[in-house]
Symmetry: C2
Subunit: 425 residues, 2 copies
């Protein structure tokens, strides 16, 4: 069977399964999640062994340490996977939720019902835990899923897929509801993203190259997240006690996450006092500051011992460093801060530190990013922190889902009408 | 200036104007709508004269009567346009609405704020009234718009654009917020749908050919509506008093609208009584019935005088007739009805006629269309009837907006966080 025929067959099965999943009861879906978790625990040794084959092949292929780390599935990872499935079972079922029912002058009552999107295609790198995690979210939201993980994880993914199918069967749900693409042929991705008749939305999870390629070539909607170039703006009315803790947490709690701050903007009126305090904290943590001229002048004057100060270039304002580096700029005030952010940001997450009510509200309203915060660390932009229970990704688009995407983002709303024989006049 | 440079320039201006529109007050937007309406009334004679030039050119080019009818703008049409603008001014402003604010265990309060999408591109046929209507909806939702109407209406659209710009200026809003593409070069459409840096979403309004082309070639999301192949299903527990009025209204109130019923499904248990009553009504109205074998046998046996009965072919189940023709099929019951609809429907609007609670709820839940109704005519699927105040179109997609799209569909929601110095642990 050639790869296109193979993918079309997967698509047809997924579409058929999605009809059954849309009508599946909450109990059946939760039973499936519990049964998959139980099977994963039971197969722990087999999963670790399958992963061992992937790791051996990856080592001989010369994969780097970070990739090997993401590929590794040990007993602790298996347990975390099972616990994650059980946690998703506890979330409220979004499907069937009826809202906004209003009676109209014609007599009909019009409302909305939340329904699954249908078939979700997930394309991700060699991270076996994503297989279970993405399957669980799609299943709970009443969708069918087609999972295409990195080819380096093929043995692990096959073993996880067997557990998922066993669990679906136990719960009386169609095994085709979750299909793992069982080929390392890269053409599978091209086929998956160009079958609008079978796939309703694609979620790419991985590096920028993958996401850019999928976005450019997909013939179906994509829930995507490109860069996370997040900003913290220190307003002239910032509470001095909040400045350093928020900047420290936003930049240094973790360097490699997409909600980490990459640019610091400081109002001119407080730059001379705020910047040295921030620089002392960064110096202690070894964070390099790429400063505009004004910030550089202030900080060189302050002569902070270990501060790593570098002159910023234009490209630094757009950069997602994912490293102990931060771009720093002095701005006239909130207007310049908003303009800078709306020009250079990747529209992920931005925060203002201020006690001024009007500027806080203006920042919330005028900054065009998926998450906008007052007096909080950008690191809070996360499905768990927002109370979604879990997330399939963070969208920097405006269309459909924006920001952390949980179960709700994997659903849609249709209109429903309760009538009593009404006809239109 | 070549067409691509021209369109890029329009895009750049629209993006800049969209920033100002997003921050515009409700009062300024309503003032602009009122000022545009006033200017349109003041320029009534000039608008009719400009339209006269378009009509003369269209007549010499040999446009058909239906196209000339849609192109025509008389004094009554000008007044309707102005009244429509004033009506949109009375709708609540969706921008800035804050919902779902909840306190999280970390201490932050997380909620959502409704925000404009940004820049909307509207591509439509030679219907001058759409220019004012689409401009008003985009403006009220805080967006900038780029309008590309059919080239046959270029003089009318120029004249309307002048009124729109005068109104925006009066209200202190940027004239670039609403730009009318002032060229008849068809390459303008290709450019408009492939500038994701300047255009956030495209709304094509017009024939299937236009929509299919835009969908296939667009590099930005499209809010689109293809066919309206709507179904009415008569269940075995239908109230006999509701059957004929709903079928009559759904099929015959208007033949050419997308929410008109095109297929009738009848449960076997009631087919022998329901079908003759329906056929008598259709016979009186000259509606042709394209019947499956079973329906044909029942109706030929019933020998209704003027009934136009034809044997249905497979293609009739997919057809949007937009004419006094309806496909008719006898089904075993609600399961077969749902399966038929989910196979053949264009996912626009479907209705069940039943007094049975469980089957009504199953139909609502399992039919995968943008509007699903119980005991009401499909003709109610409409932005005004649903209480949206106005609609920019009806989406048969699941992503972002589904069904009638009003002001809310021209907006998005961002996450907002109210903090008090919280950092992530």
């Amino acid at each position: 069977m050639d790869i296109n025929t193979y993918m079309q067959d997967i698509g047809r099965r997924a579409r058929a399964a999605s009809r059954l999943m849309a009508a599946a009861s909450t109990a059946a879906k939760n039973d499936a999640l519990a049964a998959i978790a139980a099977e994963i625990r039971r197969q722990s040794a087999a999963l670790v062994a399958a992963n061992g084959k992937d790791l051996a092949a990856a080592r001989s292929a010369g994969l780097d340490a970070a990739m090997l780390d993401r590929l590794t599935l040990n007993e602790k990872g298996v347990e975390a996977m099972a616990a994650g499935l059980e946690q998703i079972a506890t979330l409220p079922d979004p499907v069937g939720e009826i809202t906004d029912v209003r009676r109209r002058p014609s007599g009909i009552q019009v409302g909305r019902m939340r329904v699954p999107l249908g078939v979700i295609g997930i394309i991700y790198e060699a991270r076996p835990n994503v297989t279970a995690d993405a399957a669980a979210l799609c299943l709970k939201a009443g969708n069918a899923a087609i999972l295409r993980g990195g080819s380096e994880a093929i043995e692990s993914n096959r073993a996880i897929a067997a557990c998922v199918h066993a669990g679906l069967k136990t719960a009386g749900l169609p095994e085709d509801a979750i299909q793992v693409v069982d080929t390392t042929d890269r053409a599978a991705v091209g086929a998956l993203i160009t079958m609008p008749q079978y796939v309703d939305v694609i979620v790419p999870r991985g590096g920028k190259g993958l996401i850019a390629r999928v976005s450019a070539e997909a013939k179906v909607p994509v829930i995507k997240h490109l860069d996370g170039n997040c900003h913290v703006y220190i307003d002239e009315d910032a509470d001095p006690a909040k400045i350093v803790p928020i900047v420290e947490n936003a930049k240094t709690q973790r360097y490699g996450t997409c909600n980490t701050a990459e640019t610091l903007l400081v109002a001119r009126a407080v730059a001379a006092t705020a910047l040295p305090a921030i620089a002392a904290m960064f110096a202690a943590k070894g964070v390099e500051m790429r400063c505009d001229e004004e910030a550089l002048a202030i900080l060189r004057g302050a002569a902070i011992g270990e501060a790593k100060l570098v002159a910023a270039s234009e490209t630094d304002w757009r950069e997602e460093f994912l490293a102990p580096i931060i771009a720093v700029k002095v701005v006239a005030g909130v207007d310049e801060a908003i303009a800078h952010i709306n020009t250079y940001s990747s529209a992920h997450t931005e925060a203002i530190v201020t006690e001024n009510y009007t500027r806080a509200m203006r920042f919330l309203r005028e900054v065009d990013s998926s998450s906008v915060m007052v007096n909080a660390s950008t690191r809070f932009a996360d499905g768990f922190e927002y109370g979604l229970g879990a997330e399939i990704g963070i969208s920097t688009d405006k269309f459909h889902a924006r920001g952390p995407v949980g179960l709700e983002g994997l659903t849609s709303q249709k209109w429903i009408v309760f009538g009593d024989g009404e006809v239109r006049r």
